[in-house]
Amino acid sequence: MTGSLQQAPGPFFGEFGGRFVPEALMAALDELTDAYEKARIDPVYTDELTRLALEYTGRPSIVTEVPRFARHAGGARVWLKREDLNHSGSHKINNVLGQALLTKRLGKQRVIAETGAGQHGVATATAAALMDLECVIYMGEEDTERQALNVARMRLLGAEVIPVATGTRTLRDAINEAFRDWVANVDTTNYVFGTAAGPHPFPAMVRDFQRVISVEAREQMLERGGLPDAVLACVGGGSNAIGSFDAFLDDDSVRLIGCEAAGDGVDTGRHAATLTGGRPGILHGSRSYILQDEEGQTQPSHSISAGLDYPGVGPEHTWLHSIGRAEYWPVTDAEAMDAFRLLCRTEGILPAIESSHALAGAITLGKELGPDATLLVTLSGRGDKDVQQAAEWFDMLPGGDA
C-alpha cells in the first residue's frame, strides 16, 4: 500500500535513525541486517517464530476490559492488551525470541543484552536457556538494586549478570558497556538489543517483532465493536509503544499516545521524558531526541521506573512525533503509582510500574473524552518485580505502619 506508515524500513525515519557506530561494528550490523532481511521472508524462520509465540510465549495475548478501573477514567471504555501475561512477564519476549533465533542462524553461540528493569534481561536469559546460548546481561548498578528480584531470576536462568558501576549506573550505562563487549567479541556474539532504539537495523527489526501487539489488538478490538479512539503505551526506548502503534498507524481516527516518564515533573529536571524535554542528537547509534545539555552531553534521567529511565528514545517515535502522527505525554512518578494502585484494587491486576505510566495516561484521556470513548492500553508487563518498590512507595512493608 502506498502512503502507508506501517513497517517503515529504516535506516532513516524522516531525518531520524541511521547508524552512528564505530567502524568495527559496521560489518556485524550489516551481517545482522542481511540475516534479518532473509529470515523475515523465510518460512523456516517465520514458522518457528510463530510456533514459539503460540506454544512458548502463550500468544495471542488477550484483551481485558476493565470497567471498575474505567470509572476513574471518566467512564470511558478501557481495554488492556495483556502483554503482562506473556511467558516471562512482559512484551520483551516477543523481540527476544526473534533475535535469539537470528543468533542461531548467524551461527553465534553467545548473546549479550542490556537491561533496565530487568525484563529484557530476563527475557534474553529465558531465550538463551531455551536455545542453548551463553548469555551475559549488563545492568546498571542502581537498577540491580531496585530490581534485585530480576537479577536473581536471570541468574537462576543461567545468565551472567554484570552490574555496571560507571556513569549514572542505569540503563544508558548498561548499553554503553554492552556495546563495548560487542566490539570486542563480535565474532562470537550477537547483541540482543532490548528496545526500538540503537543503530539500524534495531529500531525497525525490534518494531517488527513487537508489531504482533497491535496486529492482534486491532483484530480483537474490531471483533468487539470497532477501532478504539486511542491507543496508549508507555515509552522507555519505545519498543512496546511502537509495537502497539504500528498496525494502527494508517487508521487516522485512532490517536496514538506514548506515555513518557516525567519522574518528579518535567519542570524539575528530574525526569526521563525525552520527547517532551529533549532535542535532536545522536546517542547509542542513532539520531533521535536526547536529554542533553547545551554542549551535547547526555543528561542523567530520572524515573521511579527503571525500564523508562533512559535519556533517549527510539527514532521512529521521534519521527511520528515530528509529523504529528503520535503524541507523547509526560506522566510523573506519582501519577503512575496512583494508577498502579488503582488497577490493583479495582481489577486485581498488578501492573509493571512502566506500564502504569500508560494507565495514568488513560485516566487523563478518559476524563477528557468521557464515556463515549474507547481506549486501548498496552499493559506491557506485570508488576511482580515491582512489589518491593511499590510497597516502599506506599509504606506497606512490615514495620512501616506507625
Binding site: 541511521g18 547508524r19 552512528f20 557506530v21 564505530p22 567502524e23 568495527a24 561494528l25 559496521m26 560489518a27 556485524a28 550489516d30 560507571t166 556513569g167 544508558r172 554503553n176 556495546f179 563495548r180 566490539v183 570486542a184 567479541n185 563480535v186 565474532d187 542528537g281 545522536i282 546517542l283 547509542h284 547509534g285 536526547i290 542533553q292 547545551e294 554542549e295 551535547g296 552531553q297 547526555t298
Partner: protein
C-alpha cells in the same frame, strides 16, 4: 596536500614513524591537561590528538572513561578543547581533535570545523562517525580545510575499506584490534593486516592505534605504519595527580620506539 599530510611525509623521510599522542581535555583539570599537551610535544610527540570528554564514551576502556568522567565532573567545556588545540599548535605539533559526534553535532558541524581551524587545528578523528553517515561532517570539514580521519578495523570489509580510505584526509586510523581503548600485552597481527588492506585500497598514510603502550610495541608497529597512536598509556602516566614528569618519561619511551630504538 594538507599540513598534516606534509608532516607525516616529512617524518617518513626521516626513516621513522610519527608519534601521535592522545589526551582528554580537562583531566585531571583543564590547566594541567593543557600543560600536559605541551609536555607531550616537548617530549617527542609529533601530532597531538585532544579529546573533549563525552558523557557516553562507547569506544573507550576504563582508563579514558575515568579521565573523561573526572573532567566532566570538574566542569570541562567543549571550548576548552580548542584551547588545548591552540596550545598544541603553538608548541609546534600538528593538532587534531578526536570527538564523539554528538558534541560536534550539538555545536554544529560547520561551527565545530571553523572553531578548530581558528584554534590552529588541522583534523578531526571521528570514532562513531563513518563516511556513510558522515557526509554532512565531511562537507563542513572540506569547506574549512579540516582533515577528516576515519577509522578502519580488522572487521572492515574490502568495500568499506575503499569507502573509508576515499573519505579520509590526513591519514587513515587503523585500529589494531576489535575492542575499546586501553593497554594490551601485545599488538596482534591484525594491525599489520588492517594497514595492508588500507594501503591496498589506496591509502597513502596509515597510522595504528588502540592498545599500543610500550616502546617495544611502538617499534614493532613503526615497521609497517606511518604513525603510532598512543592514548591510554599517556593518560595513565599523567594520572589523577597530573604527573607531567611521568608523562614525559612515557612519551620519551614511545618516541624512542617509533625511531626503532626500543
Amino acid at each position: 596536500m594538507s599540513a598534516l599530510e606534509d608532516r607525516i611525509d616529512e617524518i617518513r623521510a626521516q626513516g621513522r614513524a610519527a608519534l601521535i599522542g592522545y589526551l582528554p581535555v580537562g583531566y585531571p583539570d583543564v590547566d594541567t591537561s593543557i600543560a600536559a599537551v605541551v609536555a607531550m610535544v616537548e617530549a617527542g610527540v609529533d601530532i597531538v590528538e585532544v579529546g573533549p570528554p563525552y558523557s557516553d564514551p562507547m569506544m573507550d576502556g576504563p582508563v579514558i572513561q575515568h579521565a573523561a568522567a573526572t573532567a566532566l565532573e570538574r566542569g570541562v567545556r567543549v571550548d576548552d578543547t580548542f584551547r588545548a588545540v591552540r596550545a598544541a599548535a603553538d608548541a609546534g605539533a600538528q593538532a587534531l581533535v578526536m570527538s564523539y559526534c554528538n558534541l560536534m553535532l550539538s555545536r554544529g558541524y560547520d561551527r565545530f570545523a571553523a572553531d578548530l581551524r581558528a584554534a590552529g587545528g588541522v583534523g578531526v578523528i571521528t570514532p562513531d562517525l563513518t563516511p556513510d553517515t558522515g557526509q554532512e561532517w565531511i562537507d563542513a570539514a572540506r569547506a574549512h580545510e579540516v582533515d577528516t580521519i576515519f577509522l578502519a578495523a580488522p572487521s572492515t570489509t574490502r568495500e568499506r575499506m575503499h569507502l573509508t580510505v576515499g573519505a579520509s584526509r590526513g591519514f587513515v586510523y587503523a585500529t589494531s584490534l576489535m575492542g575499546v581503548t586501553g593497554e594490551r600485552a601485545s599488538v596482534g597481527d591484525a594491525a599489520a593486516q588492517v594497514v595492508a588492506a588500507a594501503r591496498d585500497a589506496g591509502a597513502a598514510r596509515v597510522c595504528v592505534g588502540l592498545g599500543v603502550s610500550t616502546g617495544a610495541q611502538a617499534a614493532q608497529v613503526a615497521t609497517y605504519a606511518d604513525g603510532v597512536i598512543v592514548g591510554s598509556a599517556f593518560v595513565k602516566a599523567l594520572g589523577d595527580g597530573g604527573d607531567l614528569a611521568a608523562l614525559k618519561a612515557k612519551v620519551a619511551e614511545l618516541a624512542a620506539g617509533v625511531r626503532g630504538d626500543a
